[in-house]
Symmetry: C2
Subunit: 342 residues, 2 copies
DNA sequence: GCGGGCGGTGGGAGCGCTCCCACACCGCCA
DNA sequence: TGGCGGTGTGGGAGCGCTCCCACCGCCCGC
């Protein structure tokens, strides 16, 4: 049964109106939750909608009204895949959960090349989405500002700098570094090193700041030889660990600014015959799935990634409805997950 | 400058037509690549488009025409997160790459609850996407058939059974199991066990078949005590390995049908004092990021995940344009990645 | 008792496209 | 010379909504 003759088969708002014995306008008002509708009409329309199985046509809505009921989640992947991948999935999970309730569509846009970037910029300026969520933005990324200029609501995941002007949801990266080092020094480590992310990224600088605070708080001497810059990759972590071992053979604790780099460091430590955690305690950031698989399982500072996604979505929705004129500035706390590597 | 007074600011097809000195129809024809246009007109329109920075309005297009220029990628997450997460990201990556060239939008839909499932089914029947890509479908998932009934093109990632009737892109799971066992027996292992996925999933049964073929080909006796069913989770892998150790203390090789389960097995082996690979050789499937991090690094059978995503997208696009009446049935080869666990 | 509100309503006028019909205009044939 | 088909073209008629104006009652105040 059903789905037989008709071309498109879908009932329209007009048909709903006819069945409910009201005008088109009234149906539209009911659907959009306008307060100026009598209970009687509301009920009649509701029944007609149910009977007909009516679902509003999004294209028509977008064309007639202003909104599209869709937001874009943008993930730039220009360079090497900097962040551990599960990170993105968790963000997506959070965003998706929040959007589902608002009945908004999630458009996923991976930007790999400048061509794709250009295409996305066209997208933006064509106002084809009600807002954008930007993940993994670099310090010099112009996309957030472009969105602002075009009047498209935007929310970032992470800041580009301390003075970020676009709305953002970030995690407490200074606190992450700080708690990692506190944990290390709390276990009696005295020569605590750090492997940083790329220092043109604010997130990396923040974690380094946290490290420095922790070192100072423990009354240990600041020693720049204990700081090795890397790039969030495993190979980078490996290289940095080698440097560290060479410069400071007496290192007994390492705070790697990401789990992936910690994994790199771990393999170098193994090759060098240093036991973890006996000789060198090791701690990462992200609490990624891989952390648990490492040997020994890696102590790590967890970020509430899914929650960040959720908060970003919520902030964007608010910005779209214009509920809150103040751009969202949220910094979520991190949490130490202690395992056997420390 | 720019973006000053005008309400929407975007030029319309009509304005392009006026500027090019042609009719609306002609501009539309040029944009959609119709052959029935003179070179002169084509050129004039092209210039006008460039000068005005015209970008077609998607909503209007969708409303007037039949297509929406969007496809949905559906990821059911009802139960525990069965598959390792990076899997999905790689699929997304492949799909996205292929779609970008076709200038199609990627709608991501996570289905967690029956409510979200229902919403998506409404979506489908409202014809709001030109097609669907379905990932991680279970044997009894009705979604693919629903899509078929509604006449929405669909492509699956993996089959639900040997007789799958909906278009699909799968990897050679039998071959994966077979090559894993061949590798194990090739290294002289004689008591080779397997930890399977949930046997109501076709993928799990295929890998088990491959295992059995491998055992037989090596002239080893089939022994059901060497087969332990699990569920693709780490805890499941752990439980299965314990069983195996109890039933067959002389086991010297284990083929786990996923890296995650291999990780579980590995930790049980450690606790039991069995060395890997000396006492027991261990091999997984997926070649996930975690495999490399394990100690020792895990030998694994890699699936061409990103390529699968790409092929799925390509197949779907073809099905949408109606180019190929035959539903896509692709089975991609897997590849053994040898590391230190075997 | 009459005028002015206000809650509630109907329906016209688009939104920016695609589809398709109608109509030039060309060169060809009979 | 007239007719005929084939190109190339213009533009009307929607697609299914939202927005908004106009309108109908009713109740209130004076």
């Amino acid at each position: 049964m059903a789905v037989s003759g008709r071309q498109t088969g879908r009932p329209t708002l007009e048909e709903v109106a006819a069945r409910a014995g009201v005008g088109r306008g009234t149906v539209s008002r009911v659907i959009n939750g306008s307060p100026r509708v009598s209970d009687r009409a509301k009920e009649a329309v509701g029944r007609a909608i149910a009977e007909l199985g009516y679902v509003p046509n999004r294209a028509a809505r977008a064309l007639a009204g202003a909104r599209t009921d869709a937001i874009a989640l943008v993930i730039p992947e220009t360079e090497s895949r900097l962040f551990a991948e599960p990170y993105f999935l968790d963000i997506i999970r959070g965003v998706s959960a929040e959007l589902a309730d608002a009945d908004m569509q999630l458009l996923l846009t991976l930007i790999r090349s400048s061509k794709e970037r250009q295409r996305f910029e066209q997208y933006l300026s064509a106002q084809r989405v009600d807002g954008v969520l930007l993940v993994s933005v670099h310090g010099d990324d112009p996309l957030p500002d472009l969105a602002r200029e075009l009047g498209v609501p935007a929310v970032l995941n992470g800041r580009r700098s301390a003075g970020e002007r676009v709305a953002y949801v970030d995690s407490d990266n200074v606190g992450a570094g700080r708690s990692a080092v506190d944990h290390l020094t709390g276990r009696g480590r005295r020569r605590v090193a750090t492997i940083t992310g790329p220092l043109d990224m604010y997130v990396a600088r923040c974690r380094l700041d946290g490290y420095r605070q922790g070192v100072e708080a423990a009354g240990l001497p600041a020693d720049d030889r204990l700081v090795a810059a890397a790039d969030f990759t495993e190979e980078g972590g490996r290289r940095a660990m080698r440097e560290l071992l060479e410069r400071c053979p007496d290192v007994d604790g390492v705070f790697a600014a990401s789990d992936v780099m910690a994994a790199g460091a771990r393999s170098v430590l193994r090759e060098a015959g240093r036991r973890v955690p006996d000789d060198v305690a090791l701690i990462g950031v992200d609490d990624s799935a891989g952390a648990r698989l490492m040997d020994p399982p890696l102590t790590s500072v967890r970020q509430p990634i899914e929650e960040m996604g959720r908060r970003m979505a919520r902030a964007l929705l608010q910005e779209i409805t214009g509920a809150d004129p103040e751009p969202c500035r949220v910094v979520l706390p991190t949490e130490l997950v202690v395992r056997d590597s420390t």
